[in-house]
């Protein structure tokens, strides 16, 4: 089982036993309320230098409220796993929070491209699938997983993947190292006070992102009773023992869409993309993030009830998004 080739990208050496020790000493098995504010959760569970991941993107079911709070608290030197992203890496970079990213994919963004071209943030290449796959490896408690792609490309060369001979078949196959995030921030449809959470609709990697992290902050549209969770155990995406904080933030993914509940705000999206293009992200963040103490304050003062009702009406597809 020889290693035939190794990418030269920077990655964090997987450490499944180290992750286990963290889980043993930091993750409570107790069924206790973890409800707190976004401010408290980010203060307590996001540190400068953390390896940060989140599920989906600022256009859909992304944890906007939590990302804004990270920016508001001026967290620094985050290493961010970016895949299938939208303007989310751009706002984190514009907020000065990011020093390194793993690239699956980012949407065309002046902020991102400039930061990379100017060497302000460091990059390791992967693919959307490979980033999520690395999180799966972490969520399986493994140091690595074999996979059937990434090989042969320059992406491989700039990644942390390896090419080996499979000892069972003698054939070549790639391996990618597990990724256990320091902290994951994920927005869900429903969870109980302990963190038993439900996400409806197609995922991206809700289970993997939640499971692979040392620290997990959930924001949720709705806090439901634990009785309600136990009535439909089939619908639980992740159990409570993985969750460190539950933050109740209705419209928590605004300006993005929450499938089955509300649509995204196209005006805001255009404003955000124009700010990115015009290199005026500072003003954008001033207006939408720094000016407020919380997501709900922003919604109340800048978005307004009428707009929120419109967004709810705009999401006409509700079939399948209910317990």
């Amino acid at each position: 089982m020889d290693v035939l080739a190794s990418g030269k990208g920077v990655y964090r050496t997987p450490d499944p036993d180290g992750h286990r020790e963290w889980v043993r000493t930091h993750k409570s098995r107790e069924l206790k309320s973890k409800v707190m504010t976004a401010k408290e959760a980010v203060e307590q569970f996001v540190s400068d230098g953390d390896y940060l991941g989140y599920d989906l993107n600022i256009h859909k079911r992304g944890p906007t409220a939590l990302m804004h709070e990270i920016i508001r608290q001026k967290k620094k030197n985050l290493w961010v796993a970016v895949r299938f992203s939208g303007m989310d890496p751009a706002i984190l970079i514009a907020g000065g929070c990011v020093s390194r990213i793993d690239i699956g994919w980012f949407i065309q963004s002046g902020t991102c491209s400039r930061a990379i071209q100017e060497g302000l943030i460091k990059v390791t290449e992967w693919t959307n699938g490979a980033v999520v796959y690395r999180q799966l490896a972490g969520a399986m408690g493994l140091p690595f997983l074999p996979l059937r792609y990434i090989g042969g490309t320059d992406t491989f060369e700039q990644s942390g993947a390896k090419l080996i001979k499979d000892p069972f078949t003698g054939q070549e196959i790639c391996l990618v190292p597990a990724l256990n995030l320091d902290v994951a921030v994920v927005h869900v449809h429903q969870c109980d006070e302990f963190g038993n959470a439900r996400i409806f609709g197609s995922g991206l990697s809700p289970m993997e992102t939640c499971s692979c992290a040392k620290k997990l902050i959930l924001s949720t549209e709705e806090v439901v009773s634990s009785d309600e969770i136990r009535r439909r155990p089939q619908l639980t995406t992740v159990p409570y023992y993985m969750v460190d904080a539950v933050v109740h933030v209705p419209f928590g993914t605004y300006p993005g869409a929450m499938p089955g509940l509300y649509g995204s705000d196209p005006e805001h999206m255009i404003e955000m993309m124009m700010a990115d293009r015009m290199d005026t992200m500072d003003a954008y963040l001033e207006k939408w993030v720094y000016a407020f103490e919380s997501h709900v304050e922003m919604l109340d003062k800048l978005v307004g009830a009428r707009k929120l009702i419109q967004l709810m009406q705009a999401e006409t597809f509700r079939e399948g998004y209910r317990a």
Binding site: L56, H59, K60, R83, F84, I103, G104, W105, F106, Q108, S109, C112, S113, I116, Q117, E125, W126, T127, N128, G129, V132, Y133, L136, R148, Y149, I150, G151, G152, T153, D154, T155, F156, Q158, L163, Q171, E172, I173, C174, F200, G201, S202, G203, L204, S205, P206, M207, E208, G256, A257, P259, G260, G263, S264, P266, M269, T316, F317, R318, E319, G320
Partner: protein, 273 residues
């Protein structure tokens, strides 16, 4: 003499791809943009029983209309799927060989079908222009049985060798190059489609081969828009021009506002009898 038809290069590109789409085949389609529009067009015309997944885990949805990228964020794109799963599950199904074709839009495709979506100019460490990376294209181009690439016919989009292989074609073109890199056997680029041409790949050398050309351009016009000279099929086929049904579906059902279709340049073409 037939009637003159007018269409944009964008429409022509979408129609050329839609004409490749078959009933009862399974497609992994990039989540928004041209590949999805081509799929919608095919499902409303020649291939109502073409099935597809997208990267977020939506398996065989039945959307009521084309969903552009941003509104892909709404429930519309997931509507009436047979299953809502996740990115890894779709990857597993692809790894097991369930997906016949991938359809991808690309920035650059080279003579061996390698595609670049990472950077152009400069070096990897100091790129002149940096792009978003492979995204899901790497897994699609690696694991679907065959891959269909879409690239506008412009010289810079058809380089001899891409600056960076983000996602794999036939790599250096050598025999079993993909297998030696750990990719599934007997996979690779199938067609490269532009608004005026359809390419395949030579079975031996894996070099891109021009199969068909739009009847309103000459071979010289086409070759002027490539950085390398492809192999040329003999006989070289003519691409069928857009049909009225295809144009009507595109304009009335898929992009009624003309926001995307109108981005191309207009072609005026009069078929010979």
């Amino acid at each position: 003499m037939s009637e003159t038809i007018n269409f944009t290069t964008t429409e022509s590109m979408l129609i050329n791809v839609a004409n490749l789409i078959e009933n009862d085949k399974y497609y992994w389609v990039a989540i928004g943009g041209s590949p999805m529009m081509a799929m919608m067009l095919a499902r409303k015309t020649c291939a109502p029983r073409a099935y597809y997944v997208v990267e977020d885990g939506t398996i065989s949805p039945d959307p009521l209309e084309y969903v552009p990228f941003l509104s892909g964020a709404s429930g519309a794109a997931e509507y009436r799927a047979v299953a809502w799963k996740d990115m890894n599950t779709v990857g597993f199904h692809c790894a097991m060989g369930y997906y016949d074709y991938g359809i991808l839009d690309c920035l650059q495709v080279d003579m061996y079908g390698n595609i670049n979506s990472t950077f152009i100019g400069g070096t990897y460490e100091h790129p002149e222009r940096r792009f978003g990376g492979p995204g899901g294209a790497n897994e699609i181009a690696s694991m679907c049985w065959q891959t269909i690439f879409m690239a506008d016919q412009e010289k810079r989009k058809y380089p001899r060798r891409v600056d960076f292989i983000s996602s794999p074609g036939y790599l250096d073109g050598s025999l079993r190059a993909r297998e030696r890199a750990g990719l599934p056997a007997n996979t690779g680029p199938y067609r490269v489609v532009s608004e005026i041409a359809m390419f395949g790949f030579d079975e031996e050398t894996h070099i891109m081969k021009l199969l068909a050309i739009a009847p309103w351009v000459t071979l010289d016009d086409l070759l002027a828009e490539m950085d390398f000279e492809p192999l040329i099929a003999d006989p070289l086929e003519k691409l069928p021009p857009p049909t009225e049904q295809q144009l009507t579906v595109l304009r009335a059902e898929i992009d009624p506002g003309g926001r995307i279709l109108g981005q191309g340049t207009w072609i005026e073409y009069t078929p010979e009898d």
